[in-house]
């Protein structure tokens, strides 16, 4: 991506922002309520029962351990959702991309524009989430601000791969499969709710290979300002950057095949 191709991509982002102008209030309220409900129900309610020993949660209270995990997982879900039905709709049902590709923009700009949009969504969701975590006294400022770019990187990595998948779909059936068999298991088993060490040895390494695990590790380490989590940060960032690069390449190729046949 060069700077000259970012300007046209920003038009695609702008289009989504124009649409968002009509719905942003509800969307922001949701971004605020989700962490509040999770942290109250699971952190405080459930947490008081399970937090008898902080040793189980790497030396943290359960709610401190849980908060950043849910932040990362929520950002993943939103990034994935934005890359499924809305993208397929613009490919096949409403044909927005066909219209856009009749202008000087090309597939590269469309893909980059949608990723900018996902980046924007994750930016707002993770920022509001951090504010709520602050109400619970969880983040260690100012270091915690790095959780935002971490969540964005993870969101883009997921988004690029899911957009590639969306480019192969005829209807939305494949997406419910993705949510049921990929996103939900990731949500539950990527260190979001409990440390991976709680899992049987045989599946620990599988969980450690998943992208959400790396996203959670980065976000938790940055929010808590905990070097122990961040020791492997080049690994986590490297994993997500490579995933984004591969996702971009495949998504670009598949979108091009689908849209310019």
């Amino acid at each position: 991506m060069t700077v000259t191709s970012l300007a046209p991509a920003a038009r695609v982002l702008q289009r989504n922002l124009w649409v968002y102008r009509r719905t942003w209030r509800g969307s922001m309220l949701g971004s605020f309520l989700t962490p509040l409900l999770y942290l109250t129900a699971m952190g405080v309610g459930l947490g008081t029962l399970v937090s008898t020993s902080t040793a189980a949660f790497e030396g943290y209270e359960f709610v401190h351990f849980l908060g950043p995990g849910i932040l990362a997982a929520t950002c993943m879900q939103s990034a994935v959702f934005e890359s499924t039905f809305p993208v397929l709709g613009k490919i096949a049902w409403r044909r927005n991309y066909e219209a856009i590709l009749s202008t000087p923009l090309d597939v590269r700009h469309v893909l980059a524009g949608e990723l900018l949009w996902v980046g924007f969504r994750v930016l707002s969701i993770s920022s509001v989430f951090l504010l709520v975590l602050t109400l619970f006294g969880i983040p260690k400022w100012p270091f915690a601000i790095l959780a935002v770019p971490s969540a964005i990187l993870m969101g883009l990595a997921f988004s690029s791969v899911i957009i590639a998948f969306a480019a192969t779909q005829r209807n939305g059936e494949g997406f419910s499969w993705v949510f049921r068999f990929i996103i939900n298991p990731l949500f539950l088993f990527s260190g979001t709710f409990f440390p991976l060490t709680q899992l049987p040895d045989a599946v620990q390494w599988v969980a450690a290979l998943t992208p959400l695990y790396h996203g959670v590790a980065l976000v938790r380490g940055t929010v808590l300002g905990e070097p122990a989590f961040l020791g492997a940060w080049p690994l986590h960032i490297g994993y997500l950057v490579i995933m984004l690069a591969i996702g971009w390449t495949i998504a670009h190729r598949l979108l091009k095949r689908r849209l310019l046949s």
């Binding site: 300007a7 046209p8 038009r11 649409v19 066909e98 219209a99 202008t103 000087p104 310019l260």
Partner: protein, 311 residues
């Protein structure tokens, strides 16, 4: 403005293949600046594939194509910035209002805000949608959506406008309104490329056209030239009972230059339809009905391919 001799779109041996299937099979044509050029043919003849190659939305499999002097393989962004496209199926942005559709499209072309707003207002007037400017797109009628799509294709003040079946699916009144707007564009000197499977549309709008069938161009000329070349001036259409039809063999050939047998009627190609009808009456051939009409492009197509345009 009369068409000039300057060639705006030039194709030689232009070919489009999808795997084993050849959608466009080595076609040659030239579109001149200022003319309305038509591609007439039935569904599946290769019209849309040809359009899509011109519009840089489909890679060329083989052959030569130049659009406004540029090669779509190398300069698609530059070409696209100077043409307007009206696709067969509307692809308006249903999540934006009528006015926002035009303003957003202007953004894609990087048209500065002030000019974009001015052109948007002018174009909404031009397609008679100014009163619906703040409405959502979905509740608009088919004809209104089509007009909005046409307005959108004009936002970059294009030198060439490509319209793929501009009135398919519209009711007669809406069609006439679209035709009237396109005719105005033509008068202003715009170059139009139109695909259609309606012969009346081709006759109304096109200065020159090519007839496509099964991926190839089978004839080329002005509507009048094509009718003169491939048909007689008039056509006598008669309907007879099956019993009578069986007894006719050869009888009609003496009356008409050519006879076309369709399942429901017979077409007699003649210079003078009324006289031919008189002769039919004199021979005491019992008719269920008879109609004399001018020859149209439909007859040209029937002659060239042995099939009707709309089957």
């Amino acid at each position: 403005m009369p068409p000039s001799e300057e060639v705006l779109v030039h194709a030689r041996g232009l070919t489009k293949r999808f795997g084993e299937f050849t959608a466009v099979d080595g076609v040659d044509f030239d579109v001149r600046t200022g003319e309305a050029f038509g591609f007439l043919g039935p569904n599946g003849a290769g019209k849309t594939s040809t359009m899509r190659m011109i519009a840089c939305s489909s890679p060329i499999s083989e052959g030569e194509l130049s659009v406004i002097g540029m090669d779509p393989r190398r300069s698609s962004a530059q070409i696209k910035s100077r043409i307007g496209v009206v696709p067969q199926i509307d692809n308006l942005d249903a999540e934006l209002t009528v006015r926002e559709n035009l303003l957003m499209y202007a953004r894609y072309f990087d048209i500065p805000g002030e000019i974009a707003r001015q052109r948007t207002d002018e174009l909404l007037d031009f397609v008679q949608l100014a009163e619906r400017a703040t409405d959502q797109v979905d509740p608009l009628s088919g004809g209104m959506k089509r007009r909005l799509t046409i307005a959108r294709s004009l936002i970059n003040d294009p030198e060439l406008i490509i319209l793929d079946e501009p009135t398919t699916g519209l009711d007669p009144q809406a069609r006439h309104l679209v035709w009237e707007r396109l005719y105005r564009l033509k008068q202003r000197g715009a170059t139009l490329i139109i695909t259609t499977h309606y012969m009346d549309e081709a006759e109304q709008l096109c200065d020159r056209l090519v007839v496509m069938d099964k991926a190839r161009i089978v004839a080329e000329g002005s509507p009048r030239d094509l009718i003169e070349q491939y048909s007689t001036r008039e056509v006598l259409e008669i309907r007879v009972s099956d019993a009578v039809r069986g007894t006719l063999n050869g009888l009609l050939d003496a009356i008409a230059d050519r006879v076309e047998e369709l399942p429901d009627r017979l077409l007699l190609y003649v210079g003078d339809g009324e006289r031919a009808l008189e002769t039919v009456h004199q021979r005491q051939i019992p008719l269920e009905s008879a109609l004399v009409r001018r020859a149209t492009l439909e007859d040209v197509f029937l002659r060239l391919t042995g099939r009707s345009l709309i089957e």
